[in-house]
């Protein structure tokens, strides 16, 4: 085996060790307890497997002279043959590679990791045994985890009661993991492509390379899941330490998400219409079959779908990066709260008295308040829009962020108007002709199910409006403005009106979402409207696929729904979510279900991304050390 691949194997071992160290530091082995060592070895094996597989494929990429992702971002039908050729290349390579070399590499990598783990845990055990504190803070975590990894109790470590054989076992297990991984690579290599699993899966689902059987299976999947959720129940499914309610929630999320894929898989025309109608029916029955908790999560998901659709108009269609979108959500929520909760602010009641309305509460029901909330939010959108009209890119981002914070701080500090941090309590629930939905449906629909149903209907409405607008001349003007503001204006787009419309419509949708959110929450507080809501909304449209309404639904399912499923791993919830966010961006930067335009854009190397072309760079100064350095370069004579 050449020296180079030996060093590579050792490096693989080092990276695996670093990764395992991280897991140890955040306390995973301690949580696992007894079987910690085998579990960690299993994780290492998975890691080695991917590394080794990638390494054995890499040369083929060099040979074809492609980047690491030659076909990333191309529509599915263009990938098929290429992926297949890649697979055969792997086979070819492996046959020449003779499994032995690979196994040797795996052994070396595993040995490196195992030795390092053994040495480090040996040092910890020795230190503990001799009563040496590692670090007051780390002493809370380290002994427990080290003990779990060595396979003894913390007490045994403290008494230096650890035999040498235990460390040997560590080395052996990890080395074994390496060999196992290498064997797995040679064994399962016939149908590999080097694309990451997530990317490959979704690409298969979204591209027409699928066989018709697979296509029908894909279309049928959401219905099967829905049927399962509805009728069969889920006896005994209690994975992840959760109850079946959580599993059912997960299945609901998957069913909804796979419904969107089913829509994409079905042929345009009658088939698609039929699938859409059936799916619509299926989804509308969901509020009736889910329980209170699942309904409440799904309600939140669809409230965020509305948010995402609104923000998508601003960011995805008009290309205006808005980090303060939560402001309109807050305005919608508080407007409804003012109009429907017993809390009465002297200002509001004064205003009402002025208008000749008696300030008795709840003043307005949900439906009467809806236009008010939407209008207030729209006015907020225009008020934000006016000062930022001339700002671009990141300046716009920070000003909108500031606007969002200002609104939140006002909610927090203007105690007489908003009741400050104590929030507004007992916001009334949306009723139907004076009846609660629970009454109307004889208890079939729970209060949260009703909110979910409303969220579903509202987001369908919002999606309808958003899609129609995007397909009209306004949508074209937005897109033109996003592409090139100056040219758009010179082509006849009224920038002020077009931008303000984007802000206002986006804000209106957020206002609707905010109102429903207030109804869902019953009590609202300024903390509900922090910067993180904006970030969530932005993240969900990007994860889902910017510009694509279906992607937004998926994004909301993933970002607002999954964390609820992950409740079983409570303290690891956010780290997992954060890691998923980063992975997502790397594996599939155009989102799970990108819009058609987005795909074009990624195929196009001139996209003004981080590598912006000179035209965009004009607005974005490079690193300038004094103010006029840049002006000298550009303020000179015109370009010729």
């Amino acid at each position: 085996m050449p020296l180079e691949s030996a060093t590579r194997a050792v490096r693989t071992g080092l990276v695996a060790f670093a990764f395992l160290s991280y897991l140890i530091l955040i306390g995973i082995p301690g949580r696992i307890g007894g079987p910690a060592l085998p579990v960690m070895a299993l994780i290492a094996a998975l890691f080695f497997w991917v590394k080794l597989r990638r390494e054995s494929i890499e040369p083929s990429k060099e040979a074809t002279g492609r980047g690491q992702d030659g076909f990333e971002g191309k529509p599915g039908w263009e990938i098929g043959p290429q992926a297949a050729s890649n697979g055969s290349r792997v086979r070819e390579l492996l046959s020449s590679h003779t499994g032995t070399a690979l196994v040797l590499k795996g052994l070396l990598a595993g040995l490196t990791t195992g030795l390092l783990i053994a040495i480090v845990s040996g040092i910890i055990a020795a230190a503990m045994g001799n009563g040496i504190a590692i670090q007051p803070v780390l002493d809370k975590i380290v002994p427990l985890n080290a003990a779990a990894l060595i396979g003894v109790s913390p007490g045994q470590i403290a008494q230096a009661d650890v035999s040498f054989a235990r460390f040997l076992l560590q080395v052996l297990l990890f080395t074994g993991a390496g060999i196992l991984a290498a064997l797995a690579v040679t064994a399962g290599s016939s149908d590999l492509t080097h694309a990451a699993p997530v990317g490959r899966l979704t690409r298969h689902l979204s591209g027409p390379t699928l066989t018709s059987a697979g296509r029908y299976a894909g279309i049928a999947l959401p219905f099967v899941l829905l049927a399962y959720i509805a009728w069969l129940g889920l006896p005994g499914v209690t994975a992840f330490g959760t109850n079946e309610g959580t599993v059912r929630l997960l299945l609901t999320l998957i069913a909804t998400g796979s419904g969107l894929f089913a829509l994409r898989l079905s042929r345009p025309g009658r088939e698609q219409l039929a699938v859409a109608v059936l799916l619509g029916l299926g989804v509308v029955t969901m509020p009736f079959i889910l329980d209170q908790f699942q309904n409440s999560v799904m309600g939140l998901v669809f409230i965020f779908v509305m948010m995402g659709l609104g923000l998508n108009i601003v960011v995805g269609y008009a290309g205006l990066l808005d980090l303060g979108y939560v402001a309109f959500f807050a305005i919608g929520a508080y407007t409804y709260a003012f109009l429907s909760a017993p809390f009465s602010s002297p200002y509001i009641s004064g205003l009402l008295t002025l208008l000749g309305i008696s300030p008795e509460s709840p003043l307005l029901g949900y439906w009467m308040a809806l236009p008010v909330a939407m209008l207030t939010a729209a006015v907020g959108g225009i008020l934000l829009g006016i000062p930022v009209l001339r700002m671009r890119g990141d300046y716009l981002a920070i000003v909108t962020l500031g606007f969002g914070e200002i609104i939140r701080l006002f909610m927090l500090n203007l105690g007489e108007l908003t009741n400050g941090p104590r929030g507004i309590l007992e916001i009334s629930q949306p009723a139907l002709f004076g009846l609660t939905p629970v009454d109307v449906t004889f208890g079939l629909l729970s209060s949260q199910g009703w909110i979910f149903l409303l969220a579903l209907i509202s987001s369908a409405l919002v999606a309808f409006v958003a899609i129609r607008l995007n397909e009209s001349r306004l949508g074209r003007a937005w897109f033109a403005m996003q592409e090139d503001e100056d040219v758009a204006e010179a082509t006849g787009v009224h920038l002020v009106r077009t931008k303000l419309l984007a802000f206002a419509i986006g804000a209106t949708f957020a206002g609707m979402a905010g109102q429903l959110y207030a109804a869902r929450q019953i009590n609202i507080f300024p903390e509900n409207f922090s910067l993180f809501v904006s970030i969530d909304a932005l993240a969900l449209i990007i994860v889902g696929g910017i510009g694509s309404p279906a992607g937004i639904v998926l994004g909301a399912l993933a970002l607002k729904g999954l964390p609820e499923v992950l409740r079983g791993v409570d303290e690891y919830r956010i780290v997992t979510f954060a890691a998923l966010l980063v992975i997502m961006m790397i594996v599939r930067p155009d989102g799970i279900l990108p819009s058609a335009r987005r795909r074009i854009q990624l195929a196009d190397p001139d996209e003004p991304g981080m590598d912006s072309d000179p035209e965009t760079r004009e607005e974005e100064p490079g690193l300038t050390v004094n103010g006029d350095a840049f002006a000298d370069g550009s303020g000179g004579r015109e370009e010729q």
């Binding site: 129609r468 009209s472 897109f479 787009v493 010729q640």
Partner: protein, 266 residues
Amino acid sequence: MTALLSIQQVTKVFGGLTAVDSVDLEIAERSISSLIGPNGAGKTTLFNCLTGLHRPEAGEILFSGRSLIGLRPDEITDRGVARTYQNIRLFGRMTALENVLVGQHLRLQASHWSAVLRTSRQQAEERAAREFGRELLDFVGLGGREEVVSTNLPYGDQRLLEVARALGSRPLLLLLDEPAAGMNPSETDRMMDLVHRLRDEKGVTVFLIEHDMKVVMSISESVAVLDYGEKIAEGTPEEVRSNARVIEAYLGPEVAVQEAAGNAIQ
């Protein structure tokens, strides 16, 4: 013929540099005029002043007798001035047809509500717009390429698409910024033919910046020359060709008049 566009004493200053210096110019209706000059002479800046991208420090620009100064670019387009760009600035991710539809933006009236409800009027308008867009694409020679994403079009076609997009707003005056730049001879011929047809078939007045002297001399009815922001000559192609200041500006003072006049200047 009356003057469609009248530029009076227009001056544009960047920092300490006067890019356009008190330029006077008149463009007759239904004419084809050219603006030439060495690199950095201020030609594109003058175009930018005409279309409202820049606001001149001084001077007056009258279009059909009404001032364009201080109007927004979209308002100027609404008055009937459209343009193309020297470095092609298409809406890259849009298809050819969509680009032309954006060009028609100003001429579409349907309200946004009707777009949401898809009223029959709005639908009819959209259909008409698409029809007109196809017509324009046919006119510039891009028939059958409606659904091609504009960045994927060949270079020469992108220039043609810019013209089609500009025509979408049904302009009276079309400003072409180096329409033949980077084109091969046959593409150049197509472009020259298009310019003629623009005037003859569509009745559009054309005002263009061009470096290719063959183009300028063969299609222009009048030519103006800018150098260091000043207009140094104006007249028919023949007059300009023999103007001593022009030759000096292009080739430096030593070069003989005849030599310059005979050659295309790159």
